[in-house]
């Protein structure tokens, strides 16, 4: 019974992955990618990893899907603009043919290179996994026996923030780097909300956003003893920011850029601060003093939740905040006004 379900699930995942990559219609490809993410989340549930399933559904499928759709819309707008300039009676725009177009031969080369890198990574991973004993619990037994000392009773949170805390520290740093990269590339577009659709969308958001915040707090709190935690809670906050932006909220009065910066960096700063503090006491990196791990972990997770949420929302906005409407490409001006 379950075997049949699992086989269908796997076939669905492979099929959707193929379609998402191969579909000529990019919009359909993105939709299939979102569907793929949901099926992968179900697969994680089947592997009894609800924490990963939550993160995959929220970040892998939902927010990545929103990012892809936003990129698609931006590309369409740009195409419409180039089409406009091209149809004007003046001489054809040289940038139109020069910049985007890649000769077919080149494209084959790119594809072959990408495939080679992909297979290389796959081969390395297979080479690393192959010699592992097939029926082993790995470190699960050890992780479980020391769980009572870890400060939390959810083994996933224990691994993320205690046993392998430095991995998570680096992950939070990667998120910060990602947003630094996006902010250094461009300003955010001013979100244009459909004004006639607003009453209905607004009335949904007016009670949905508070509920999302409560939900984020709940996920953060239960992360210490049940599936949940900073990434899942942060994804809810980020989703709320995406919705608010789609509805055109906070256009008149966006918080000044230095508030954004402080919020985005808070997670990493708090994480590194706690790491330095406990290192002074115990001498080990992220080795918490005995019996005090729980509060430290919760403090890190609370700060990380806020930063992850803001990062995901800022990634969707697609650039550093700007209060003035953008005409063409504005000249640089100081961000904090």
């Amino acid at each position: 019974m379950w075997a049949l379900f699992d086989i269908l699930l796997l076939l669905g995942i492979v099929f959707l992955a193929w379609r998402a990559l191969a579909d000529a219609d990019l919009f359909r490809g993105v939709m299939q990618f979102i569907g793929l993410g949901l099926l992968v989340a179900v697969a994680w549930v089947r592997l009894r990893a609800p924490d990963v399933a939550l993160a995959e559904a929220a970040v892998g499928s939902g927010l990545t899907g929103a990012l892809l759709l936003a990129a698609l819309a931006r590309g369409e707008r740009r195409q419409a603009r180039t089409a406009q300039t091209a149809s004007s009676p003046e001489q054809p725009n040289p940038a139109q043919t020069g910049a985007g177009a890649v000769s077919p031969k080149r494209e084959h080369l790119y594809r072959a290179f990408a495939a080679a890198v992909g297979w290389l990574i796959f081969g390395l991973a297979a080479w690393a996994v192959w010699p592992l004993p097939s029926a082993s619990d790995g470190l699960a037994l050890e992780a479980r026996t020391r769980l009572s000392e870890s400060g939390v009773s959810n083994p996933v949170t224990a691994a993320l923030l205690n046993y392998r805390g430095y991995d998570t520290l680096l992950e939070v740093a990667v998120l910060l780097l990602a947003i630094v990269g996006v902010w250094s590339l461009r300003r955010a577009d001013v979100a244009v909300a459909d004004s006639a659709a607003r009453p209905l969308f607004d009335s949904l958001l007016r009670w949905l956003l508070p509920l999302l915040m409560v939900g984020a707090g709940y996920l953060l709190w239960i992360g210490s003893f049940a599936p949940g935690g900073a990434f899942q809670a942060g994804a809810l906050l980020g989703g709320g920011l995406v919705l608010g932006r789609l509805a055109g909220w906070g256009q008149r009065k966006t918080p000044a850029a230095h508030y954004w910066r402080a919020g985005l960096a808070l997670g990493l700063l708090a994480f590194a601060g706690v790491a330095a503090l406990v290192m002074k006491h115990t001498g080990g990196l992220l080795q918490y003093p005995a019996g005090q791990a729980g509060p430290w972990i919760l403090a890190i997770e609370a700060a990380a939740t806020l930063s992850i949420g803001l990062t995901l929302g800022a990634l969707f906005a697609g650039g550093r905040p700007s209060n003035e409407p953008i005409s063409a490409e504005p000249q640089e001006s100081p961000d904090h006004e």
């Binding site: 459909d194 969308f201 949904l204 949905l208």
Partner: protein, 102 residues
Amino acid sequence: MSPVNLLCFLLLAGSLFFFTAGTVGLLRFPDLYTRLHALTKADNLGLGLAVLALMLRAEGWAEVFKLGLIWLLVMAASATLCFLIARGARQRGQLPWTQRPS
């Protein structure tokens, strides 16, 4: 089979029926508006029946509450999204289907 289990089974069967009906509508109906109609209406009912069935088997009131909350959230979101998608399509000039062109 205990009466609770039987009721659960019937609710789940009803849920499956409505989900199937919604999916058939999505695949077979002629235009975006009718498809949206089939999907959002039938799926809400299907989800509601599934939630009811799961509530019967829940381990306590907190779980019942959470399941109910999920149902309400999905209903509110799908009703609003249905409106937004249909409105977006209308603005781009998609006309509703009126009759089979023959």
